[in-house]
């Protein structure tokens, strides 16, 4: 399943929520959708899920347009909204059973699908509980179960980790990794960027409706932060001498003392890092830690976005 977002634009009156964005992702990929509040993430996700109509542009799911054939496209997309299910007077099991019926699952197949999803999302123990009585984490699981009950190829998750406790987050992350292994194409928006770095293959960074960066995590990291930062910790307190030494060393830039460690930017490749380490040891510096700190998604996000909203 290939999901292609093509020149998507959505206007609400005079506000341009999504401004001509394009990106694509495939089965087995988890794509992070990152941006400040009001950047246009939810609008884009709602368009992919056929809830909203774009002003122009389109989203193709294996060539099927979500604008022209929403009913067909719907079969392929499972959407987990940021608002959790709050239907009154309905139990978890009835809720999942309804969506299984709504997506055309019948008889034994439906019963099996609902039971499997209840097991998979770990809600089997609360299946007779009313939706309104559930905690946020449990509602999130039910919402995910609802989106998965008809086994869609594409999963669109809008802020699924928001408001979840650490354990629930870890469990959600594990569920998503399992789903990626099952060849689902997943688009996930979240403000918890460290988690996205761990589970995403690709990322789209969006602000004020426009894409700032897109590509695989590695590409984006390479593109946005080409220099590595190296941290050195010494056994004794010779930081001043080390700092002086480093300032005279080739490939080293912007050396500084940070919390009893020396940090510098390495303007070279990994062999340059080896040479620097070798040189320091030869000069009798007692190095107990020499590590490269990679820029993460959070750093890139802070670098490329300006925090603008519409």
């Amino acid at each position: 399943m290939k999901v292609e977002v093509k020149n998507l634009r959505k206007e609400f009156g005079k506000t341009v929520a999504v401004d001509n964005i394009s990106f694509s992702f495939d089965s087995g990929h988890v794509f992070g959708f990152v941006g400040p509040n009001g950047a246009g993430k939810t609008t884009t996700m709602r368009i992919i899920s056929t809830i909203e109509e774009p002003t122009s542009g389109d989203v193709l799911l294996n060539g099927i347009s979500v604008c022209e054939e929403p009913e067909l496209a719907r079969r392929a997309v499972g959407y987990v909204p940021d608002t959790l299910p709050a239907h009154a007077d309905i139990t978890v099991h009835e809720y999942l059973d309804f969506y299984a019926r709504a997506y055309g699952l019948r008889g034994k197949k439906r019963t099996q699908a609902v039971e499997a999803i209840e097991e998979f999302t770990n809600v089997a123990g609360i299946r007779e509980k009313h939706l309104k009585a559930l905690s946020k984490g449990m509602k999130q699981r039910v919402s995910l179960g609802r989106a998965l009950v008809y086994d869609p190829d594409v999963l669109v998750l809008d802020e699924p980790a928001a408001g979840l406790d650490p354990r629930a987050r870890v469990e959600l992350r594990e569920l998503l990794m399992l789903l990626a292994e099952r060849k689902k194409a997943i688009l996930i928006s979240s403000h918890i960027l460290t988690e996205l770095t761990e589970i995403c293959n690709g990322v789209v960074i969006i602000e004020r409706g426009k894409i700032l960066e897109t590509g695989t995590i590695e590409d984006v990291l390479k593109k946005s932060a080409p220099r590595r930062t190296v941290a050195i910790r010494l056994l004794d307190t010779q930081n001043a001498a080390l700092l002086k030494e480093l300032l005279q060393t080739p490939f080293v830039e912007n050396a500084r003392d940070v919390a009893n460690e020396i940090h510098f930017e390495l303007n070279g490749d990994e062999s340059a890092a080896c040479d620097i380490l070798g040189g320091l040891i030869a000069k009798k510096f007692k190095v107990i830690e020499f590590r490269q700190t990679k820029a993460n998604l959070e750093d890139i996000f802070m670098n490329v976005t300006k925090g603008g909203v519409q």
Partner: protein
Amino acid sequence: MNISDIKNHFTNWREWELNPIVIKELRQGVRSWTVTGMLLLFLVVLFIASLGFLVTESFDINPNMQLGGSMFSAFTVILAGASIFFIPLYTAVRVAAERQENNPDLLYVTTLSPARIIRGKFLCSAYIALLFFSACMPFMAFTNLLRGVDLPTVFFILAYLFLVVCAANMIAIFVACIPASRPFKVLFALGGFFASFWIVIPLVEISWELMRSGVGAMMSGRDFWIGVLTAAAIGLAATGLFFVLSVALVSPPSANRALPVRIYLTVIWLLGGLLNFGWVAQTGDAERMNIWTFSTFAVMMFALLVTISNSDQISQRVRRTIPAARVKRFFAFFFFNGAAGGLLWTGGILIATYFASQTVMLFLPTAAYPSILSMQGQIWFATTAAYAFAYALTALFIHRNFLSRRPPKLAGLLAVLLAAAWAIAPSVVLFFLNQLSWKSVEGLQLGNIFNVASLRDDDQRLYHLYFAFGWLLVMIVINAKWFFRQANNFRPPPVAPPVLK
């Protein structure tokens, strides 16, 4: 769906399942305190009413006592009140909550077809109504033992009340589906609440009348059944209309929303015309043709407003269903999405209605034709229709040339505003000149669509007629280029779409 699909459907009857919406809604309904509470309250009221009647009337013994009739009347009021006020309101609130403007419920993005969703909502409301009627039925049947009402009357009134409640539910679903903001929906709900009084009062009066006459005695008469079947057919047609309208409202914008509505209205228009003609032929009273003529006129005026609110852009999906054959394409143009085709369809129906009425009058020369769709009536029909089209085309022209970036539904609103503004403007001017009087309101105001009906001097209607047709002609000429462009663009795309595997 082809014949083999239908055959398979019936062969696999064991796999038939209830509409998922019905199951969900009923599950929610039986768990809901609103429904159970209302039902309990309803039963308590029925019980207290029965007890009150039995206790108080027991002291007043006379040989011709008809306690059953009095109790039945009271039960009818309670049942009609509870079911007409509560069930449509409950249904509408549930649908409206799901159809919130900015956050529609996810059930609307499942693979359930819009028709199935609306049918499910309707069936569920009918089941809830059935629950209330079932609760009331033993009380009503019991009144038969106390004299004053026969069993056929009891069941007949229950059946007809039930059908009215179902129709009211369908209207409630339609109102809830209208894409309006919450304040508007609250206003609609309040309007519906007050409108319910206009339904309940005549309903109760008809029930009492039926009770007094006794349905059992009337059932052998042919006229009774003609009246009943006609009322049922009209009710069914109206319910069907609100059903197709609701389906159109919940369908995706890329769907051919106009097609089922226009086909339905055309079929109902034809059947209604035939039924009306049969009635006229039987009674020899040509005046009855007006029911069809003026109902068609009223419906087509609404249809005209909706039609001009259609987008000029036909979605790829609709375009793919445009027939390639020229003749089929010509007919499809009338029924598919689009303002141009819709104008033709509306105009065609109105012209056909006008001439069909005239033909009926000619075929029935013995009927009191001159006093019915009299010359003035004909002029009123033609003038008002011409004005309506002139305003519609003017609004389309303004929207296309000056407000093209705004949504197409603005054209419909603009037509209403133009007509309203021109109707008010002369009175406002006269007011400031201190010359506003009833006489001035009833005087000639060319361009004022409402003035056609309020003119004091009938002869002046001809001026309206000439003016309206002159204006319409100008607007047709101005819009001709757009119209032909629309007609020319109405053709299928050359490439076949991809298919989801």
